[in-house]
């Protein structure tokens, strides 16, 4: 074998290793979401939220393998809007930088992330079966279609020369996080708030049951995010790649840290004490914000971006309570609001216009919100989306799973 062939082979191996390890980190974010959500719901809904998290991950894997991956990436026209429909995963293309199986794995864990965002927002009151049916539509069709438009080189993501508009979203502030938040928002609007959440005296606090799980889930997400953003470099076979991945790790971490600190100051000065749940939302908001362009900002810019996203999310959580959009974990604020901010900050560090970014946000939002709304509406019409008032009082653990998370301490509460 000549030297050039050996280099190509080694690049292929390096890329594969890099993407597999990054993908495994992103897969671990499913655990992060599970713990975060389990900690922020009341104890009577713990088993149910964990069941949702495990089954949505499983469903996302199968649905994306059978239909979703093909819609998003295979045999599509560059710069187009209508994806080709097919099933399964094609063989690795000639001259690919890594095997297609590795591409698939790295993509499927992103789909699961988008779906995980939904489960927290609809927690404590949705029927398990209705949620799972939605998960199939979201991961098989809704996410893959907008995924084709963007990362699949459709009309948003393709460069201007290729007939697209050149929308830029490196690791998915808009494509993954905003999409998940929009699916969640449409579901929550049709679902309504938890019973007793909004009274004539204003919003009532429903404190989460387990703060250690909230902290653990946050750190797992924070760690997994290094793979989410770092892996989105997609290749690691040159000094340029290595430099980029190093910068991405630094920026991602810095944005999260800045987000946590900003939320700490805001909750302390505005609400009087350090509310862990809001600090956690701040860290995650920083992560979502930097995700649209973790590779181009300077470390100082990354801190500023993370801080900005966290501040916006802090006030967004308050705003959604004012308009009675009940989101027990703050997912719509963290992933939707910070997602939009992240995408709109890209022009500060990359050569892309605000108009292009705004069009991307509007198209993704309209598509995911609209199509999700139709699916949720149909589910509501045919089988209902909400558990009964009594089941909600007893807890979804009992009504949906028949398994209580903490049977020793319950006694029918």
């Amino acid at each position: 074998m000549n030297t050039e062939a050996i280099v190509i082979e080694h690049n292929y191996i390096f890329n594969t290793l890099f993407l597999l390890l990054s993908g495994a980190l992103v897969m671990w974010m499913a655990a992060g979401f599970s713990m975060l959500e389990a900690g922020l719901v009341r104890s009577k809904n713990t088993t149910e939220i964990l069941t949702k998290n495990i089954l949505l991950y499983a469903l996302a894997c199968i649905a994306y393998q059978v239909i979703g991956f093909d819609i998003m990436y295979q045999d599509n026209a560059t710069g187009g809007w209508l994806p080709s429909f097919g099933i399964g995963i094609n063989p690795t293309a000639e001259g690919a930088t890594q095997p297609v199986e590795v591409d698939f794995f790295f993509q499927v864990v992103f789909v699961a992330t988008a779906m995980s965002i939904v489960s927290g927002a609809v927690a404590e009151r949705m029927k398990l079966s209705s949620f799972l049916i939605f998960a199939i539509f979201m991961t098989a069709v809704i996410y893959p279609v907008s995924g084709y438009w963007t990362w699949g080189a459709g009309f948003l993501g393709a460069s201007v020369e290729d007939g697209g508009i050149g929308f830029s979203d490196f690791a998915g502030s808009g494509i993954v996080h905003l999409a998940g938040a929009m699916a969640a928002l449409s579901g929550v609007i049709l679902l309504g708030p938890r019973k007793g959440r909004y009274t004539s005296n204003g919003a009532k606090a429903m404190p989460g049951a387990n703060m250690p799980l909230v902290a653990l889930g946050t750190f797992i997400l924070w760690m997994g995010w290094l793979g989410f953003n770092g892996g989105s470099q997609l290749t690691l076979n040159s000094v340029d790649d290595a430099n980029a991945v190093g910068r991405i790790f630094l920026n991602t971490n810095a944005a999260a840290a800045a987000g946590a600190l900003v939320a700490y100051f805001l909750t302390t000065f505005l609400y009087g004490k350090a509310d862990l749940t809001l600090i956690v939302n701040g860290a995650l908001a920083g992560l979502v914000t930097i995700t649209a362009a973790p590779d181009s900002p300077t470390p100082t810019q990354a801190v500023a971006f993370g801080a900005l996203g966290a501040a916006a999310v802090f006030f967004a959580i308050n705003f959604f309570d004012k308009v009675k959009i009940d989101d027990p974990v703050g997912a719509i604020s963290v992933h939707g609001v910070a997602g939009i901010i992240g995408v709109m900050l890209v022009p500060f560090t990359k050569d892309v216009s605000f108009t292009t970014q705004l069009i991307g946000i509007l198209v993704i939002s309209a598509w995911v919100f609209g199509s999700s709304f139709i699916v949720w509406f149909a589910i509501k019409k045919f089988i209902g989306v909400r558990i009964s008032e009594q089941d909600e009082y007893i807890g979804a653990d009992t009504s949906e799973c028949g398994v209580e998370a903490y049977p020793e301490f319950s006694g029918g509460k």
Binding site: A203, K204, A205, M206, P207, G272, D275, L278, I317, D321
Partner: protein, 112 residues
């Protein structure tokens, strides 16, 4: 023969317990309870929304006492459970009609 019920602050339980042991009181029953009196409930903020518990957690201590031991024990509990702020709790005393130790069937003072 008296039945003494003291409602005290949870964090004062250890102090009260130590004093009762010093007084030679070997048996007591404690229960975690919640209630209302003059103490204002605390309001906390969770995710921007304030909330407060209607009832405040307390510890209920119950002791059976001879007439001779009663006054000293009352003083000990008052000394050890006082902070001076509303919410220190209350002591109630009533008469015991009869007491029986299940194991030995001893009655009244022998039973306590």
């Amino acid at each position: 023969m008296n039945w003494l019920t003291a409602i005290v602050r949870p964090f004062k339980l250890n102090d009260v317990y130590d004093r009762l042991i010093e007084e030679g009181i070997g048996g007591m029953t404690i229960t975690e309870v919640k209630g209302r009196g003059n103490q204002p409930t605390k309001t906390e903020v969770y995710r921007g929304n304030s909330y407060s518990d209607t009832f405040i957690p307390k510890i209920k201590i119950e002791v059976a006492l001879s007439d001779e031991a009663l006054e000293n024990v009352i003083d000990s509990i008052i000394e050890s459970a006082t902070t001076g702020k509303p919410g220190d709790g209350k002591i109630f005393i009533s008469k015991i009609q009869k007491a029986i130790r299940i194991r030995t069937k001893e009655i009244d003072l022998d039973a306590i």
